[in-house]
Structures are given as C-alpha cells and as structure tokens.
Symmetry: C2
Subunit: 341 residues, 2 copies
C-alpha cells in the first residue's frame, strides 16, 4: 500500500516544506533528494499520496503541501530520532546552573529557554494547588491586625496569604482556629475537598469572623476553574516570525487564544499525566484558532512529583525531530533538578 519509495517521497516533501515554507514540486524532490528516479515518477507518487490524503495542493499549478494526515504519518512513522546538539545541550546546562530559588523564576526561565531553543512559543503550566493533599495549616501573626496563613501540602508545596485579623482575636484563639482547620482539612485533596466540609467549618468557626472567612475564601478561590492553573508563556512574539501568520487575522486568532489562560491550559492537557512527548497537529486540536498550529507537550516533574506540562505552540510546519528532542531534554533536565520549593 505505502511502499518504501512513497515513504521517502513523503518524508522529503515534509522536510522540504518545513525548511522552505513553499509548496514543493516534483522537480525539487528529484533534484535535492536523490531518490534515483525522474520527476515524472515522483509526480505519480505524489498523485498517489494526494489521493491517500497525505498531501494537498494549494492550487492546481502549485507544488504539494503535507496535510494533517501527512504530518501525522511523518511524526509517527518517518521522523528520524534526533538528539540535541552540543550547542543546545550547553544552552540548557547554562540556564540551570544558576541557582534558582523560586518555582516562579524556574518556570519563567524554562519557558524562555524552551522558546529560545525551538524558536517557537513556549507554554508551561505551574504547580497545581488543587491536586495537592493538605498536610498542615499555619497561622503566623504579623503585627496586631494581620496574620500570614500558610498552607503546606504533602508535596512540599507551600502557599500563603496575608489575612486581616479582627483585633479581638487572642493568641490562643489563633491557635484554635489553626487547629480546627488542620483537623478538618488534613489528608484531603484540594479538588475533592467536599464543599460540605467547608460549610461545616464555616458554621463551627463563625465566631472567629473574618479571619476564618478569609482562610476559607482563599481555599474556595483555588477550587474555581480558571483560577486553577498558573500558566507561563515565553516568546509569544515568535509567532510573528512564521510566514503562515503574515496575515494579521490569523495572527490575531492565535494570539488572542494565547491570552485565554484556561483555554490554553485545556489544550496542552495540564490535567493529563501522560508519559513522553505528545504531538497534536492542526485540526486534531479541534479549535478553529489553532487549525494551522501544532502543539508538542511533555509532562514534567520536580523531584518526584508531577507538576504539569511544558510544551511549544507553532505552525504545523515545525521541525518535529528537533522540537521533540529539545522538549524531551528540557523536561528531563527540570524533572531531575530534584529541588523543593
């Protein structure tokens, strides 16, 4: 059905198109990739490949361009494995040799790195509070009328927030509030935390007034969709480098999409804990705005805990072997940093 020569022709077309962004013709293939056959033969193969749905023609007298299916077949069956170049490796090493003390900075830097090395737009999802299991709550008084509320999760994640405290709350009551919160919440996962627990807490502790209210508010807020993911983007403007987005309307579509955090989170699959690199191509994404884009993602960890996804978004016409290699390398590198925050 799809013999060796067809594979070679398809691979040549994909790679040439990725490199040049121009529809590729039979002549070009015959000249640049020596398959030992004439353009006419290649034309026949191309015609077959088009019938099978792997190629498309922008118009009758133009060359061929890979279809979604063509790219898919390429990444699944034809794409050569590639490891990162020494230069890329060096760049990665350099980025992480600086001591980085905050998750926020780490992710921000990683996004920049990913974007710089792939020349595409990078997306990374930050730690997800709601997946974590409560270990402890602390209330640290600050001055007379405020306190720092600290949530510690079993993954070692620490979140905190300043709350205002009614002046009449005593040191003792302070401890009591913390204790009650601890009792009720310990061992619960944020996203499975029953609202009923929250309501019970609220009733029981109503006499502590706004202090408790704020603590609960903070928790509830984390449960609301849309507040769940912190997303980091890097190199959004690289979209402008892509000839496919020379058209301002298409560009607007993609860029506005990137401004909607929750939509992007969904599309990169923050919640799916898959192994290895995942590739989504064009209409596979099922979003009009991204019909001309591909997304490559990988799950990453910190220490041994899954944190989220990192990936790139760019035109379908991207250097998949390179992108996959780099993404793999960076995701592993970060995952093995073995640091806690």
């Amino acid at each position: 059905m799809i013999d060796d020569r067809k594979n070679k022709v398809l691979q040549a077309i994909v790679e040439d198109y990725v490199a040049t962004a121009e529809p590729v013709g039979s002549r070009t293939i015959a000249r640049k990739y020596n398959l030992g056959v004439s353009p006419a033969t290649i034309r026949n193969e191309m015609s077959d490949l088009e019938d099978m749905g792997y190629l498309e023609q922008p118009h009758t007298s133009a060359g061929r361009v890979p279809s979604d299916l063509g790219y898919r077949y390429y990444v699944d069956c034809l794409m050569p494995a590639r490891s990162i170049s020494p230069a890329e490796h060096e760049r990665i090493r350099q980025t992480f040799q600086r001591k980085i003390r905050e998750v926020d900075t780490l992710i921000r830097e990683t996004a920049r790195l990913l974007s710089d090395t792939t020349q595409l737009t990078a997306v990374i999802s930050g730690p997800q509070f709601e997946k974590a299991v409560f270990k402890e709550i602390r209330l640290v008084p600050l001055g007379r009328d405020r306190a720092l509320l600290i949530y510690i999760t079993d993954r070692g994640l620490v979140e905190n927030q300043v709350v205002e405290v009614p002046v009449e709350v005593t040191m003792l009551e302070f401890q009591q509030v913390a204790e009650i919160l601890n009792e009720q919440l310990r061992g619960h996962r944020m996203d499975t935390l029953p609202r009923t627990v929250l309501q019970a807490l609220q009733r029981e502790l109503s006499r502590y007034g706004s202090l408790l209210e704020q603590a609960l508010y903070f928790l509830e807020q984390r449960l609301e969709p849309g507040e769940r993911h912190r997303l980091y983007l890097g190199g959004t403007t690289r979209m402008l480098d892509q000839p496919e987005f020379r058209d301002v309307e298409k560009l607007r579509g993609v860029l506005s999409f990137l401004e909607q955090e929750d939509a992007v989170a969904t599309v990169i699959g923050v919640d799916k804990e898959t192994e290895g690199v995942e590739i989504q191509i064009g209409e596979e994404i099922r979003l009009r705005e991204l019909a001309d884009c591909s997304i490559v993602t990988a799950t990453y960890r910190l220490g041994d805990e899954i944190i989220g996804k990192m990936g790139v978004i760019g035109p379908r016409r991207m250097e998949y072997p390179k992108v996959v290699a780099i993404l793999n390398a960076i995701a592993s590198y970060v995952s093995e940093l073995n640091r806690r925050f």
Copy 2:
C-alpha cells in the same frame, strides 16, 4: 501667533484623525466641523500649521496628519476635559466589588479592566520590594528540613520564600539567625541596603551555613536590576486592532518590546513618583520601537502607600481625553480601595 481659528482647525484635525485613521483634508474639516469658513481658508491655516510643525503630510496629495508636536499641543492646550461615562463607571465599579484578596489578582484584574475600557494595551507595575523599609524578618520552621522565611516591610508588604535548612540547626539557632537578621536589617531600605551589611552578616553567620546563605541570596536577588519589577500586561493583542500596526514589522517591534519587562518598566517610569496623569507621545519616548506609540500613565497607591504605575500603550492616534479620564478614574479607585495585603 496661534490664533483661535488655528486652534479650532488643529483640534478638528487631531480629533478627526483619531476617529478615522485617515489623513484629513481641508474639505472634510469645512464640512464636518462648521468653522464658518471655506476649505480654501482652512487650506491656508493648515499650511501655516504645517510650517509651524504641528502637522505633517504623508505625501503631497494627501490630507494632513498631526505630528508629535501637534498631539503635544493638543493634549496640553486643546483637549477637552472629559469625565467617564456612566457605562464606564459601572464597569469599574463591578470589577472591584468582587472581593479580591491578593495583590496579584487585584492588579491582574485592573490590567484587564484598563485594557477593556480603553481598547488599548494596559501595563501595571506591581509593588516594588526594594523601596520598602524592613520591619521584621520571621523564620517559620516547616517540617524538619525546611523553613519559611518571611520579610515584613513597614509598608505592610509581606514577601516570603521557602528555604532549606541543614538538619543540624536547632530551634534555638533558628531564633538566633532571625534575631541577627532583624538587628542588622531593620530600618534599612532595600535599595540603599549597603552590600557591606550583607557581607558582614554573611561573615558573622557563616556557621549557620546554607540557611543564612539562602536568606541573603533572596535579598540580593531583589536588588538586581531586572528582578525589581513585577509587570502586568493586559490586552497585548489589542495592538493588532490598530491600523498603524497592520504592518507585521512594526507590530513585531512593539510586541517584542513589550516582552522585555525592564525596558517597559523604565519607559512607564515605575520609579518616578509623579502626580496626576503623564502623557508621552511618539519620539518623545526616545525609542525606535515606540516611535509610533503614545504612553499614558498614572501613579497609583494602595492605602496610602505609592505602589507603582498603571498606564496604557497604544498608537499615537488615541482618544486622549477618554484615556486620561478612564486612567484617572481607575487609578483613584484602586488607590482608595484602602486594603492591605
């Protein structure tokens, strides 16, 4: 020199150009703005205004367009005062009636609001740690090998960071480290904190090893330029709506500029504590990338402390009266929220 009629003509040209984005001709002025004179007369006035540098001609047979100087004169002398519309007011009120518990969220929401109401790109600078005066440092142990380092400033700002603790550090030593840090740092402003103090601390406390090291690292990091400002952008894609940025190259210039946090921080004047609204027009900004842009900024507070700047960036051709009114309204509204975080 510049009589009443010239003022009226200039004002008409600026406002018409702002509305239409087309060079405006003498006929248009005579028709739409009834100054009671013929197009020929207006042509003479326009010619004068061009000689004086207030207007420019894209080419000989086109209408006139305001120059930087023209816009400057307009905003300084001609621009009608305008207050916000009921709809705008309502939109602002709605945004802030939701209880917002975190500075981060507050600023993010404000940026969105500012961008939505002005239809321009919004920029807001967050609280600046280095301007604050130290009040207190706390070290809260978390588990056996970590601690939360909390910095409290006299402005009520709280920053914190998780640090790793060598296991051999005892509870007592913990308190000692905190005390020594407190003694040395209390009352110092971050940005005037002498490196010598840090070094002295480092010598004196070297036996506490990495715990202290990390505390100091955190402080030093805040002192590095580039790490100083947290910047929030809203509605970057609105740049695409502007006809002046239909050209992808110009667009790229502006958008890449917006990705450089420190450059944007400088340009909006995070460090200048000015009163009222400031307007920068075109080449006044002295940056090639922003030669076609204007920037309107205002200082804002939270409670009674100056936090930073908020503003918008858009094409020179923007509705200054509207933008100024909205920015004023939002900056005041936020400033008067009178909440602490």
